[in-house]
Symmetry: C2
DNA sequence: CCATATAGTCAATCAGGTTGTCTAACATGT
DNA sequence: ACATGTTAGACAACCTGATTGACTATATGG
């Protein structure tokens, strides 16, 4: 029993492992022509998706207000990752879509994540990594994105 | 090969697993008399430790400026988790120490994390959880705290 | 046709981070 | 002993990303 790890190690390691992956992703993305991309941009662009979305929808998905979602879109627009187009069926709506540059970032991210997973598979063995993924799936809810992580973690 | 999980699932699951633990910790802490405690408070108090620390030291440990560390201490002081005392050997320094209320939060957190780990051990089996911890240890650097997660993740 | 609901924007505010500057106190070398 | 350099903390100005509230324009449904 005394050989069990203390309970506080688990969350620390989970967070650290996440950071390792994300940091290495962005190191590589910077090398591949996306030096300005930040951790949460990938999440936001993933939420926008290939079909585009609106500020209100994005806010719901990210768990933030539509105004905050709008500001995030402003930033991504300024960086050239997304563009706003008007919905011809509802002129109130402005559909935010990924630009080719944004799509490029997403496809490169997917590729890099696959490479990083392969490195972990080399390190642990494919069977152990597979088990790790299966265990994490059992321990985490499905389908939930919860992209409000910055505010969630930081709010004092 | 095609049965391998896509690379992007791993970071998502790691972050989600972290959130599950932290959210359940704070649900329980709220029930046990610490409703105002936020995710990063625990990390900061852990960094302060039983012997206390100064704003400069805390800033170094957390990877933020001494001013930011000072503001964080202000917040924890306002909530009653820490108090500032002067160092008799160096009157420039103000040692920030945990109050009994702060110590209580830390000991309860440790206990709750142990309980959560036990629940995961029930879910997966102790051997699988042990393997998961061992694998995460292999994949993450040791000794590093890096508490700048909010800014790190959020900065657009 | 009017009442209500929704999309987006603007403005004010807040929290937490940054850098720069300043003062007080320690540490050191001549 | 003292002049110099370094360190701790506080204060101010500013930046970013979030919030709520108010407002306009456009749909939508009775």
């Amino acid at each position: 029993m005394s050989s069990d790890a203390p309970g506080f190690e688990l969350p620390l390691r989970l967070l650290l492992a996440f950071r390792v992956l994300i940091d290495e992703l962005h190191d590589e993305l910077a090398r591949q022509g996306h030096p300005d991309l930040r951790p949460m941009h990938g999440f936001v662009m993933q939420a926008i998706g290939p079909r585009g979305t609106t500020a209100v929808e994005l806010g719901r998905m990210l768990g933030v207000s539509k105004q905050a979602a709008g500001k995030t879109i402003d930033t991504l627009e300024r960086l050239g990752y997304v563009e706003r187009t008007t919905d011809s069926h509802d002129t109130r709506r402005k559909i935010t879509r990924l630009t080719p540059y944004g799509m490029d970032a997403l496809t490169r991210s997917a590729r890099i994540f696959d490479d990083l997973r392969a490195r972990w598979a080399d390190e642990l063995g494919e069977d152990r990594l597979h088990a790790l993924e299966a265990d994490l799936r059992r321990l985490t809810p499905d389908g939930l994105w919860r992209l409000d992580t910055p505010g969630w973690f930081g709010s004092l």
